[in-house]
Symmetry: C4
Subunit: 309 residues, 4 copies
């Protein structure tokens, strides 16, 4: 990508607003909600089912299972319990419950058969329910599995972004690490500065130069450094300047998870509140354990110390 320092480069089309709202939340989610005239325009069922919280998904599956059972139990009850063999009729509630459990045994294809459909209407309904159950459970478990196996990047970002001494200059720095036991390879970083340009009254978006944009292997940690040279838009900024210009540092990391051989993306965002002036990260020294394996304490990623100006 060319280093065209325009707004468009990160896809925030129009340029005429200068709000205080951040663009990317701290957890990496995007602070945008899309609406349109028609509901379905903005709706993507698969995406919703894959990304909704676990408990919401489970409740949805259980409710769906109960509803379909209720529907078929009602149909069975409506055509009459005498269409089913081996049922011992008792109270209406117990009759209904017997049919409800028969329905559940059909939907899950258990089919004990102590109760069974007699005649064509009951037979047809049970056939439809069994086919529907097979398809429905396959879809539900497909989504369950997709949720479980979804390629994700679990990068840890240092809590703070530091302004540290860097060679003869200063550098804006933060650290990332992979806390999981899998390996991330070919990691690539892009850092974009978003701030208000008070001359034009507009919010501007500027990609920041990095000391290193790509590493072949994220085995331990990676300190991502933007050297604040004289060309940098942050050159000479004081902490007040960061606040006054409502600075947001947006981070985009792309890498390959080598368990699934899949590219994964991670986003993060720092605001001026996360900034520490004149500090540097503590080096992280992996210990060698008894088996000769290097041990990395990922929590140390946040550790820094103040430096003399």
């Amino acid at each position: 990508m060319e280093k065209d320092k325009s707004t468009d480069e990160i896809g925030f089309g129009t340029k005429n607003y200068a709000t205080n709202s951040r663009y990317i939340n701290n957890d990496g989610s995007v602070n945008v909600r899309r609406k349109g005239r028609k509901f379905w325009q903005n709706f993507d069922g698969y995406h919703a089912l894959i990304t909704m919280p676990r408990t919401k998904f489970l409740i949805l599956v259980i409710l769906g299972f109960l509803l379909i059972n209720l529907l078929f139990a009602s149909l069975y009850y409506w055509i009459g319990i005498d269409h089913f063999g081996n049922v011992q009729t008792s109270t209406p509630f117990n009759d209904f419950m017997q049919l409800f459990f028969f329905s559940a045994q059909t939907l899950t294809t258990v089919g004990y058969g102590h109760i069974f459909p007699k005649g064509n209407i009951a037979g047809a309904l049970a056939t439809v329910e069994a086919a529907l159950g097979l398809m429905g459970f396959a879809l539900a478990t497909g989504i369950l599995y997709a949720r479980f196996s979804r390629p994700r990047s679990f990068l840890m970002y240092s809590r703070n972004v530091l302004i540290s001494p860097y060679k003869t200059l200063k550098g804006l720095m933060f650290r990332i690490t992979n806390p999981k036991q899998n390996e991330l390879i070919e990691a690539e970083a892009q850092v974009i500065l978003s701030m208000i340009d008070w001359e034009s009254g507009k919010r501007v978006f500027i990609p920041l130069d990095l000391e290193l944009r790509k590493i072949s292997f994220l085995a331990l940690t990676w300190t991502i450094v933007h050297p604040i040279h004289s060309e940098s838009p942050l050159f000479g900024f004081s902490l007040e300047d960061y606040e006054k210009n409502d600075v947001e540092i947006m981070v985009f990391i792309k890498s390959i998870n080598d368990t699934y051989e899949q590219t994964v993306h991670s986003r993060h965002s720092y605001t001026y509140k996360d900034l520490i002036m004149d500090a540097k990260f503590e080096p992280i020294l992996p210990r060698i354990n008894r088996k000769g394996k290097m041990e990395l304490n990922v929590d140390e990623i946040n550790d820094f110390q103040k430096v003399e100006k």
Copy 2:
């Protein structure tokens, strides 16, 4: 790709025809049908099952299910109802229906067992049907799931393509946005002009220069601009020229859907009928809602206003 302005670059091989037929339909589908001497040469079963309309697919699955059931029911009826235990024989139709439902219960592996195969022939047939049912339902639900989860790009394109003032020149512009709640990243555009060159009487295909070919993040909207500089094949064109040359503007967008971490492609095509001279898009201002989230109205993507020449 090099900017070789040849026909070949977009794969429309021969150059000697100048038809009025558009190459890409407005919905992004390709206006080409491939035929050959042998039917199977052009047939791809999986592709057909994945892309056919939903209702057609459902009808096919239901028909398939009924046909296999009918086939096995007929076989069971043909070997004789006395090969099945617990059947109460009545009319031939009812006998057949009982075997039909037994077949359905076998195919879905419900297997209530109030009817069951007796003897080796019935046992063998039922075994085959059960194995077939397991395989068939797995294939059908696999395809159902693949249809549901197929990576797709649901980009919205502005209804019109505008000729707007652009810096000191004019620019050909259209806008895209992602109406869904997922995020599209690393979006990349290619725009190809197709028109009749009356000098040679041939249709030519020319990639158009873009102000920006790639953005890292399609959070809001992206206005794709071809600056009509003096090198542009559209330099000095009037609305009549666009019509006379049967201009088609073909758009190819590639991006990554970050829910599934998959690359998705989108196509669109404008003809001279979609062109508005001397107009510019209204800026789209996302509103900040009560939760501090930016709200984007994707329908505003079409809004433009006429400008003084």
Copy 3:
């Protein structure tokens, strides 16, 4: 890739042999068989199951199903038919068959239940078989589905490779097309010449320059052209030279199938026997059908005519 004209570039490591064996077969398969001291070194079960011919795969699945059934039927018979409820004992063969079908009904999880396990040994065996059946059928149908949905490129290559007039020179040309109704995008070609260099007595491998290496869209056909300029290793070759040097033209095409959004690779190889001197391809003109759709006859890809020298 740099145009280093070395053998290594296509992975045929050592250089000291000059056999007549072709490297890539006409159907794109590689003419190499890898062996090692230990069988499992060269064995990849999943690869074998995915790529074996359809009938072989079906026979394997059926045999596997029968064998597991036989095994469990034998175990059931061995512990004794009195461990099963509701069985009507008759001849040993019929007893065995009843247990065989009970086994099949357990493995497929149909479980009619007219025969059922009694006591702990039979119960335990049936439990193991049911669990095994669920796992086994899931694996088998998973592989079946993977075979069915495997991303493949069904490119058609022109039967012949032509030496045609090309601008002021000659060009080595062949044509490709996609016979299927799906779309191939971002197609990229690499052509490698393999021939015997009689000076050194070695076989050499030389990548050939192409007029165009990449097209964005393979909608109709693509004529791939190597201009035989004075730098070309084929400059001045007569038909006899092609034969004498045992020329093989290896073709590698990479593209994206836009139904599954997946990259697919295709290989092809021409030998001097497929070469036609002084001929050019007939242009392929798609017809416009009644619905305004262009129709392409893919068989025309082979049509050429001789030209005056």
Copy 4:
């Protein structure tokens, strides 16, 4: 990637340690263990299930199956055996076992039905178990299939790395081959030298220049060569120097498996113990078998001979 010879390039963040621990094990696994304050920070269930050894996975699945069965059998026993139809009560142990097998038949959805739930409590429990069984088996077989079909690179590396004559210089060389019958295409190598720089007392990481970084097709073998020119960090090294500086040669190979059309990565590492001075690899000559197919003996990849200095 730029050839920035910094530590960061391979993701070993801090630079102040000079341990003897190797970074990558001979089998390609990474010699790092990540820890944090909270267990779940470092835990990735899917990754663990996909990568654990086969036997461990099988034991886990069997244990899980038994435990869920035990749980439900206990619940059934606790509500009372009289909630189940057709049970012949005998000893408490046999009662429990009957319910255990009923539970197994429900969980696997076999559902013979010779025992069946009576009343609402037993019906509800069995319904929950059947639904759980369907979901659980789908997850387990999903993971089983993912383990089986996981894209992997089975590259073979030569046992030794040689210092051989190379043109007018020496070269550091090793060979790779693909022992499997599938094809690896677009193979790309990166070789990184890790050694102790005794001047600074630090471990340094230096990417090595390669004669060829990418080949289009790994049909036979690929000898990867680092020319030890005067700019090379290994220029003039004796075997003692390799040992003294604790040299580790890390190899990263990326390629595409053309059966699954998927990118696969492979890692390997050599230490000074694997180094042979003044030797060269024996050329590997594929034999032509009776069917005209080239046969490659992959074990020959290790064969070398000493050369005169």
